[in-house]
Every structure is written in C-alpha cells, then in structure tokens.
Subunit: 313 residues, 2 copies
C-alpha cells in the first residue's frame, strides 16, 4: 500500500515510522512533518535522521507548517518526548535534502500523481492535511483513506480532561479534516491507552540491533513520563497502533462509524472530539456511512507484533 505519513517525531512517531518501514506491504512514499511533540523543522530533521538510521534515506521528507491554523506553535512536549523530540537521543544526521514543497504541497502532488492509491496516515496535529485540503479541494476524492491517531471519544483526554494532544494542538484543522468527506478512521485514546510496551519490550529493544536499540533509548524517556501515569515502566503505543490499524495488522474488533465534531471554542472542551455515540444504547447502533470510523478496541494485544517488527528492522 502506498502511504503518506504525516508526523511530529516524537518518540511514538519514531516507533510508527520503524513499524511502517519494517512492514513488507507498505510503500512509504513521502513523510511530511508537522509541529506537535516538537516544532515542524525539528520533526523533519528527526524524520530524516530516522530514515538514515533505518536505511531508507531515499524516502523524501517535506517540512510542514510550524504554526497551527488559529495560533502559533508554542513549544511542544519536551517533558514527554525530550528536548529534541526523540528522547535526547543523538542520531547520525541524514544528509538528504528536504523535498522542495511544503508537506501540504507535496502531499497534494503525490495524491494527484497516484489518484485513488494513496493512504494517508496522520499521527500528529492535522495542520498539513487541512492546508492540503485548502490547496486542492479535490484532494479528498484523490485519496484512498485517512487514518488519524487522535482524539478521545468516551475516554478522558490527555492534555486536558477532555482533549487529546494532536487534536487539541489544532482543533480547526481537525474539524476541517473530519468534515472533508473522505474515509477517515480515528484511532483515539480509547484504543491507544490500552496498547502498551512494558519493561520486557524495552529490554528486548535495547538488546536488539542498533536500530532497535536506538528506539529503545528513545523509549526510556517516554517510559519515564508514562511511569507517572501507569505506575510502572511502560508506554502507550499511540502512533504505532494507528499505523497498524492502517496496515490491518491490528485487527479492529470494536468501532463505530459516527459523526464526529471538534470543539473549536475557547471553553474547557476546546480540542475535544465529540462523537455521536448516543446510538450505543440501542440494540443495533444506527449506521452513519458519512461518519468517522472511531476505533475502540482491537482483537489482540499489539505489543508483540510491534516488537517483532521493530527487532527485524
């Protein structure tokens, strides 16, 4: 499958990137960077360095928007992802030049060159996708589908009580993406908070080859953050889970296709995803074919599959 990856590496972004490169069915055609865990320029450099590490310097990286649609970027999440976005790990720098166009422009060009073939995987704020939809109003019909890591349907948020970080960073962009009429699958905290790497997974990565070990060293920072939340060394697998929902390796066992709106106001719910889930009290929930497919659970724990892929990098 032909894939465009929009990301803000980001430690779990690095895992997702490694996962995609290790998956035999994925043709990763382009990476766009976006601000979120870190700024878009740093995210692009991290993506390039990760591609170098993983032996794929030929995959182009396009730098995306630094600022969000309604407000400027203001500093990312160094307490989660370290000061450089990848846990303070210093990678040998990749030398490949960035793509000439912005992430949004390159995405549009790629979608136009391979109409109907492109799968979009967005694991950061949705700024680039919204800009691309503005650049080319036909984009939605040119893309096969869109998988987004983000939001919280019935689960609590993470950056606020109601909102998840990717959507909260750029609610206006998310609202545009959900309303664009393409086939969107949302992989929210409801699903990702329950797919985790534990201490044994980290140990296995650190004992693996240099690529896996580098990911392990990044994860040590991520674990330090999540240990406060989960009470033990471990981490949620937000971004790689979304990647595996795209490939189909994570088999979705519970999902609802429903209207999803984003709170773009300035109240306590800003940036939350409000999914129309009132139908779940019915014996058979009503169908909303135009809605967003919200993933609630997958059939089997994803960590073993992810670990195996990353050890084979």
């Amino acid at each position: 499958m032909l894939v465009y990856l929009d990301c803000d590496p980001g430690i779990d972004d690095a895992l997702a990137l490694g996962y995609l490169l290790a998956h035999p069915d994925v043709e990763l055609a382009l990476i766009g960077s976006v601000s979120g865990n870190t700024d878009a320029a740093t995210a692009a450099a991290n993506a390039r360095d990760l591609l170098e590490l993983f032996g794929h310097p030929e995959i182009p990286v396009a730098v995306g928007r630094t600022d969000f649609l309604s407000h400027p970027y203001s500093g990312g999440a160094p307490h989660v992802h370290g000061n450089n976005g990848i846990g303070g790990v210093q990678l040998p720098g990749g030398a490949a030049p960035f793509a000439p166009g912005s992430a949004a422009e390159e995405l549009v060009g790629l979608a136009r060159s391979r109409p109907g073939e492109l799968h979009v995987l967005a694991i950061g704020p949705l700024t680039n996708l919204a800009v691309a939809l503005e650049i080319d109003p036909e984009l939605a019909s040119l893309v096969a589908d869109v998988v987004v890591m983000g939001g919280a349907a019935l689960a609590p948020g993470n950056v606020t009580a109601a909102a998840e970080a990717n959507i909260h960073n750029d609610p206006e962009a998310a609202a545009a993406v959900f309303a664009a009429g393409w086939d969107v699958t949302l992989v929210p905290l409801d699903a990702t908070m329950f797919q985790r790497f534990e201490q044994g997974d980290l140990d296995a990565l650190l004992a693996g080859g240099p690529r896996a070990a580098a990911l392990g060293r990044m994860l040590e920072t991520y674990y330090a953050f999540y240990t406060q939340h989960f009470g033990r060394p471990s981490s949620a697998l937000h971004d790689p889970l979304a990647a595996a929902v795209l490939t189909g390796e994570a088999v979705v066992s519970r999902a609802s296709r429903v209207p999803v709106v984003v709170d773009t106001g300035d109240g306590p719910g800003r940036g939350q995803t409000i999914a129309e889930l009132r139908g779940r009290y019915r014996p058979v929930a009503p169908e909303h074919p135009e809605g967003v497919r919200v993933v609630f659970d997958i059939a089997d724990p994803f960590a073993p599959q992810l670990l195996a892929r990353l050890l084979a990098l």
Copy 2:
C-alpha cells in the same frame, strides 16, 4: 434525613417523589419546582397533585424559576414526558396553596432554620439552587450535602452527543452549583442509563394499588420513548436512582471525587460536564477532596428495591 427536593415532574421525578415518600428514613420538608421536563408552574402543580395522590398534601411546594439563568424556558420534553409532564395522566388536583416564596427563597429559609441538617436532592435543572446560592452566599455551609441527577462523565449525553438534559438546560446554574464548595454527589447517565424498569416492573405497578397504578400509567409514556432507544419496553431510572443514592439504599460501588466543570460556551459541547478523570489510568487515582463525587455504578440493580417501595405507597 431532612430532604429538600428540587424537581421538574416529569415521570421519573414522580417515581423519585414516590420513592422518597415511601422511604421511612426520609422527612421530605419541601419541594421546589423548576422548568425542565415541563415549565416550573406545571411542575409545581404536578408535584402538588402527586403529593395529594400519595397522601401527603401537607408537604409544601414552592414554585421555582420558569426561565434559566442565561435563556428563557422553551418548551420542555413533551415527547418524553407527555404534554402535561406526567405522561398525560390526569390526577385529582391537590388543593393546597403553594408556599409564599420562590423555590430558591424557601430553600434558603429551610436551610437557615435547620442548619447542617438539610440534604438537597436536585433532579431537574439546577436553576433554583444557583439562585439560592446568590440569595444567600452562606447557603453552601448550611446544607449537609447535595445530590444531583445530571451530566454525563464518560457516557454519551442524551439531549446532545455530549450533554445531559438537566445540565444542558441551565449550564450556568450547574457551573455555579459545582463551584459552590458544598459536598456535591453527581449521579450521571453513566450510572442511570444502566438502572432500568422492564415490562414486568410496569405490569406490577399497573396491577398494584391506585398510587402505584397511576405511576404505571405515567410510565407507559416514558416506556414509549425509551423503547426507541433500548429496543424493548423499558425505562432508565434517572431520578429515582439519585434519590436512592441520597438515602443510601443504592450503594455506590464505583465513584470518583474529581473536579467537574461545565461547558457554558456555545459550541457543540455546551452543557456537558467535563470531569477530570485522567487519573483513572493510574494504579491509584489521585484524591480531589474539593471535587464533585461522580457516581459510575452501584452495587446491585436498583429496580427491585424501587418497585418494592412504590408498591408499598
């Protein structure tokens, strides 16, 4: 226990009133009416007629605010509660005069006359409570505790995807009540949607004495609404469950005391309750002694207890 009941009967309000009158530990000192399921004047008349039906015409009823803090009352929920608020059932009218003061004024007077003793049970919009807090800023310290039926913490809403009707009707009032510093227990849809009367309970009421049978006739309207949602003749026990949480007959088995804010904006989340539940990923959720106690579940199904009380009316 000395109880002030603030209500908008309302079919499940009628069940809650019957339950309170049938409970030997409850001294129902005053009823205040509020707009919600129907307008405040109709709600007051219904309360008076229900008191007559149940043999307690001596309990005073005070008429509450018709309009909400930020906007006028605009028609209630006749599709749920019938055109007269109690399923179209015509009761022999009670003749007792209403209390001289407004519901808020009478609540303040009662709390002042029995400081520390009064338990407030609010099963409609929180307008009267907010007005009472304005009238007497010391009210919060005069009341023993407050139990509210309303909101949706992690469950979907009912009137919107995010909001429950009582809170949505007057979000500004709810925000004031949650912030007043008294001991508030919230019984939201997360709990009430799963406590239900089924066909057998309705049949038993209809076959009971005249008081139970009148409640059964009201419930037929309520069942007609809920059958669309639950797929079978049944009804959620929103208001009576809150009454039983107050009495302690419904034993709370799962609750979190957390900060709760109300979305008072004009976006898609208006009127929702946003509970700070991010701590639930931790092995031990942090304590918020100043928070609202949000009830998620009770130990045993409540329907049999409620049915027994109502049949004994």
